[in-house]
Symmetry: D2
Amino acid sequence: MSEEPLESRRVYSYLGPAGTFTEAALAQVPEARGQEWRPVRNVGEALADVVEGRSNAAMIAIENSVDGGVTTTQDALATIPGLRIVGEYLVPVNFVLVARPGTRLEDVTVVAAHPVAYGQSLQWLTTNIPGHEHLPAASNVASALGIAEGTSGADAAVAAPGVVAHHEYEVLAEDIGDNSNAVTRFVLVSRVAPPPAPTGADKTSLIVELPEDHPGALLDLLEQFATRGINLSLLASRPIGDELGRYRFVIDADGHIEDERMADALLGLRRFSPKVVFLGSYPRADRVIIRYPQRYSDEVFVEARDWLRGLIAGEPEV
Amino acid sequence: MSEEPLESRRVYSYLGPAGTFTEAALAQVPEARGQEWRPVRNVGEALADVVEGRSNAAMIAIENSVDGGVTTTQDALATIPGLRIVGEYLVPVNFVLVARPGTRLEDVTVVAAHPVAYGQSLQWLTTNIPGHEHLPAASNVASALGIAEGTSGADAAVAAPGVVAHHEYEVLAEDIGDNSNAVTRFVLVSRVAPPPAPTGADKTSLIVELPEDHPGALLDLLEQFATRGINLSLLASRPIGDELGRYRFVIDADGHIEDERMADALLGLRRFSPKVVFLGSYPRADRVIIRYPQRYSDEVFVEARDWLRGLIAGEPEV
Amino acid sequence: MSEEPLESRRVYSYLGPAGTFTEAALAQVPEARGQEWRPVRNVGEALADVVEGRSNAAMIAIENSVDGGVTTTQDALATIPGLRIVGEYLVPVNFVLVARPGTRLEDVTVVAAHPVAYGQSLQWLTTNIPGHEHLPAASNVASALGIAEGTSGADAAVAAPGVVAHHEYEVLAEDIGDNSNAVTRFVLVSRVAPPPAPTGADKTSLIVELPEDHPGALLDLLEQFATRGINLSLLASRPIGDELGRYRFVIDADGHIEDERMADALLGLRRFSPKVVFLGSYPRADRVIIRYPQRYSDEVFVEARDWLRGLIAGEPEV
Amino acid sequence: MSEEPLESRRVYSYLGPAGTFTEAALAQVPEARGQEWRPVRNVGEALADVVEGRSNAAMIAIENSVDGGVTTTQDALATIPGLRIVGEYLVPVNFVLVARPGTRLEDVTVVAAHPVAYGQSLQWLTTNIPGHEHLPAASNVASALGIAEGTSGADAAVAAPGVVAHHEYEVLAEDIGDNSNAVTRFVLVSRVAPPPAPTGADKTSLIVELPEDHPGALLDLLEQFATRGINLSLLASRPIGDELGRYRFVIDADGHIEDERMADALLGLRRFSPKVVFLGSYPRADRVIIRYPQRYSDEVFVEARDWLRGLIAGEPEV
């Protein structure tokens, strides 16, 4: 990821401050241990650090199992050139309700919460604090910080569990998220570089625009994958932004760009689409080996090329 | 939409308070004039009003040309039964920067803004107030209200232009949105009822789940439309929420359920999908007449059914 | 098949004379026993008998497992209106080599054979009578008759095994066909009538023209079947005859016109194609029950129609 | 086509004798002028000449605009390895009715004709010689020869117009074919060699087997062409011969194996199909330049490969 001398420290940007889920994702990166972790305030800042060379890589949230794609991340990756995803990390998402020491649940009327966290805790809050008012916060740590520092108008905060390591709080409730299996997917992003070597359990991320607005264009896009036996684990549409009804597609496909079937699908996409952004091929967080029919294996592709060469050369078939 | 006596007033819920873009959308509904407008705090509340009979209909934002689908709305419509979209309305989205009378732009350091509005004004703010700090607000009116009422820690607020009708502000800048063509799409939602009559310029909204996770399932879904000459103006994926990688698809298709080709596509979808939520067929906001190849016209469908009946009856072909 | 009084005999046309494979096919039809069998000289005559009312039905060869579709039959069915296939019959195809009594194999130099039979026996003839000359014959019985009656210039005849029942021959060899599993498929054709009732083991025969000559038209045709889970057991192309490169397609599809999925596919075809000839739905000769995924069953179609009706009526979903 | 010294003559096999339509096709080959023309009795013999080195090339009929594919030719090309089509030629097909000098039309009762020619003249014969009897002949020249030499039991012969150059006949009628635009397509076949250079007006001939008998296999085959913008001018099915319902497909596709889009389609076919026989890429008889969308041009393919290489190498995109 970095061409700097080994003795120099690597820098990793992440959505801070300490205690966020993003920090928990970065803690999963072995190469980041003992290096410099640089907290930033938003995804744009994290990616700018990478593009402009202040960081070697940035950890950013890209999807949540309950809330869906992180649209600011998707839009940033679609429009900022020169980036590559090099790793994927999963963090279970749980929330605590914290307040100043001594506070009781029945004292709470105003709740600070990042809007996404608020949405994910709404059932619990509606049931347990029926008449509450919501005060939006900038992050799952900022919500709690305002409480700790006495600068917030809220009585309690929905926050990431990590906040209790940094200040003293009354924990009014734990695990208040409406879906106890909620998980957020993070990606580690570096400057353009050769992709990490294939592991058999890889994912390729792309952003693709359609050639024109006709009934079959998206079908044609998807067939590029289906006809090579490639499964998609994510397909999301994002407005291009110039007018209603024009979208780009955010795609995660099973496999690595060095897999023959993926390389062939990418060639097909490139020929078909006015714009394909290759975001990277990288090991899946869950390390699950990709299964595919034998007819899409590398050998089959190599054999077919040899056959074609023989035909053009006029060699007798064997 | 309502079975109540004519002398009773109809009630319309909308995201309040007065001055929001949602109110501007509701102002476009002729039948709503002179009726009761009921401001609510979020989409969930608006839809609950309809389901539980407190309102006849609710106006809710469903998509923004810059920011994409309003995911809370999409998720609410996917999971709350008994609702129908009966109309669509477009509101151009522009923002003003307001402050207390007498304030100058160079005095501003802290800016209150709803997170979506903040994102859409970020270029302007970065250029014109480089070192500013962002204070999240609950709506495009609440941001300004805090200024007017002196309860906000902010110096200025990014707000909907409508706010200036309700309080006195210093307007520091107008039209500060990064995309001057930005528009938000709203839908009017009632309880289940027969769809409004076809107009030739209609849209059908659906939420569809895929039968299983195999490379071709989404292709099969899209072919239900493509093989009947139906264009999709929206295709968005939303996590079902039970695990990463499982999605439902939010679809806007050109045409009306009483168009033969759309009815046939819906039958195909229903047979194919484990779950199809029909959200409604309703006139498009832009009133653009749908064009389609002659081979998908109603007459062609009717003629084919007559032909089939004749074959089964053993009648000689003409 | 016939509207005549029960006391009148039914008439069946078939490619004669007695002893042909076609006669063997007709012998498989229970209703034909004891009725009038009318030998004709070619398929055109047989179908004319039906169209003009001289026969109630005609037995004609439509496909051979080695030689493929009987193109004259396919072309006749494509262009003569008012016909329906009502049954299918398989006859194993074997050939004998016959000569006048007393002849030995080593005496044979000239071999009479119908061209198709000659082609199917060529390996045997080349091996066993290396220097032979071929004299074309009009049928697999005519070849032998010329020998029996002394009017042929041939020394031996390739013939249907049935010929030995009608004249005295020296049988020089049996089972000389190159493929011992060869079988010919025959169909019984009547005037237009309601199709025989579904049995679960049915076949539907069609002749379809494509709407225009573009890369995807045939794909669109085939998708009408594939998207309803219908397998094709035959797909053959025949020139329409007006210019090179224009074809009609002869199709046998698994299922009956009264099966919901087949009816739906026929509707799709009719809407898509400038010309669909429905040749009939009838029980398969092999009586093998058609298997198809549950999602294409009649109940699924009926349920979807009920659902659609409820949506249009504005009924709450259950 | 031949690696022999220039001073040696080239040998061309064709269906003889002199006067056949095949001879007329061979007369269109500039390189064949002044070389040795070797008449043979059937397609098998012609191809054996090539395979075994007795001839440099063979001219064989492959399709007729009225009668369809020449199935014996298609089956021979599917099963005999080591052959390549190197050219295509069209011959208008017309028939004359000839008899011994002095014969009048009203004297004719028995008509000699090759079965295909008989089928193509049937309307004329039925109208003008209503009660005639058909005597099959081995070729469109043999039918007439028997008349000339007095060895035939027929009174007249349906024959190729070329026969009048070789013997004296009474021409009873000309142009008696039922379709005056009928044309037969011939191909010149050599041993395996590099294909003739692309001309922009080329055709590629293939024989392809399907991987397994499921509803979508043929769709998958056709999509290999459709997704590369390649039009098919011929698609015919031929029984593989082992059991009813198993077919191979005979395909003529617009373009040359050295066109990028065709090469890519061939790779796709090879990976997909258990057996692809490449019969050759060669100039079309009609010299019509192939049109295709710009997105399938060679440059687009080359550019996509460069892009892919850059991604794998980790080069910044331009």
